[in-house]
Symmetry: C2
């Protein structure tokens, strides 16, 4: 028997999750408190499925579509559901209310997973009778194109809930990783933040243009990271592996770490200057088209990786 999945919130992330589960043959019930939000859900999902079909990433549209239902009554929506993916607002009080309501309508062992990109699970589940089945399952947007999911339990979360979530994500062809202890921003956004903080300072202090900084990553640093990650990259970049690498290059990176200033790289003036350079390269009215381009590039990259892996 395949899993039955409940999704809370029919915004962009909720709809993307519906595609993830349904394309792997799971039944999905997509709930939103706002009935009008549910009206156009099916059209949006159909369009995304068509894009995936065109990129050779799925074989059929009708089968996954037939597995997705929408519902605006919470108790109806959660009937028989064994895993809930919550995609509510990024607000602790709103989430606490949602989890209280959820607890009253689901079975005692239903896993409740949040898509939050920043809030630790304990902050919106420590008031529940059964916080042990709650955790974070943080996707990258959109999860049907980017497989990584950060599974981040709270101190209360049971091993069973963690294992069930990891298994389910693998069944859904996602790539789950385990965040072993609660930490703000989890792993992905902490790594992104570390690089962005340095990037903004280099841009702000006049060492490099925004365009050249992007080139440094897309034509340099980002190529190996797209199939190896940073630790394997350095492990293969010294004759005797990563310890050898650390002895050679550790002093340089230690200096970079110490030279880092304490000022705020996200100040208004820096953002305005970056915005100005970006808008001179890509006017505001071109953003939507470029986002569609990004998704096509991502789909082509995923198709390329799938082709390579099966060779």
């Amino acid at each position: 028997m395949t899993a039955c999945i409940g999704i809370i919130g029919a915004g962009l992330i909720g709809r993307a999750w519906a595609i993830v589960f349904a394309r792997s043959g799971m039944s999905v019930c997509l709930y939103d408190v706002d009935a009008s939000a549910l009206g156009q859900v099916r059209d949006g999902i159909r369009q995304s499925l068509q894009d995936l079909l065109q990129a050779d990433l799925i074989e059929d549209i009708e089968a996954p579509l037939s597995l997705i239902q929408t519902e605006n009554d919470l108790a109806h929506a959660m009937r028989g559901v064994e895993y809930v993916q919550e995609c509510g607002p990024e607000d602790i009080d709103a989430k606490r209310r949602i989890y209280s309501e959820l607890e009253s309508v689901v079975a005692i062992d239903t896993v409740l997973a949040s898509s939050t990109s920043g809030i630790a699970a304990s902050r919106f589940t420590n008031h529940l009778k059964h916080p042990e089945r709650c955790l974070v399952a943080h996707p990258v947007n959109p999860p049907y194109l980017i497989p990584l999911v950060e599974v981040a339990p709270s101190p209360d979360t049971s091993e069973a809930a963690v294992n069930r979530t990891m298994q389910l994500m693998e069944q859904a062809q996602q790539t789950p990783i385990l965040v072993r202890k609660e930490v703000q921003g989890f792993i992905l956004n902490r790594l992104q933040g570390a690089l962005l903080n340095e990037a903004l300072r280099l841009f702000r202090d006049g060492y490099v243009s925004a365009e050249d900084l992007d080139k440094t990553v897309k034509h340099g640093l980002g190529l190996r990271w797209s199939f190896m990650g940073p630790f394997e990259t350095i492990d293969l970049n010294a004759p005797n592996g990563v310890v050898d690498y650390g002895q050679r290059y550790g002093p340089l990176y230690r200096d970079v770490d110490r030279q880092r200033s304490d000022d705020d790289p996200w100040d208004t003036a820096t953002l305005a200057a970056l915005g100005q350079e970006r808008r001179s390269q890509l006017p505001s009215e071109g953003l939507a088209e470029r986002q569609a381009w990004r998704d096509r590039r991502l789909m082509a990259l995923m198709a390329h990786q799938r082709h390579i892996d099966t060779k």
Copy 2:
């Protein structure tokens, strides 16, 4: 008339540069003080060219091979050369000696570019009569697979030398970026260092395994960076572009920045633990084979990107 290029040092980087210039039709003279090092140069280059041919990245082996000469007499090697790519040891004193010798055998306007990955140009050229034609042109290894080149002038470098180097790199199908002011580690290694420093701390402090950290990048963060770079990525990740993004997520990244501890992430114990996990995934005797796998994956990725760009 095509450019005539001199290369100092017939190690891995020097040989890789020879391939870069020769595949674009430029004549290359590869110099090494050690005549025995030159013996196997041609076989190594032929092998790399064969790999590129197999990956559909070049059309012919013999034409580039015929453009590469080797020489162990510096004055002979540098005759008629208009651009020198120096690939000597990463040692300031050694480089200062090399540049003094070079100055005595090349024309007054020959550009002298260093492949150094860490040393600012002023530190090994400020004793010369003509430091204005000296700069750094830092490649990523190997440059015939990864196109980025960091062009980093010293305060003495002339605009003409910078422009000549940028043009030459474009002719050679590389992607040059300009580092506007001297800075340790230039741009690429400062960005890599910022991410690695955070990655090592997350690993050391038990938040994540090394394997899961690599997955976070290769199945998440690194995918978009491989064709967009970090600034364009965030510019497309908020409805109204990068300023909007900064208002939404700046507070999170600012917190990440403030939470960063001052301890050394490259300490012996952390490196040993990372080495242990890496070696349990990939024993030492498998490193060379995995490096060959990495190069095949890189070649396939470059072929994929070329295919996409011409569509």
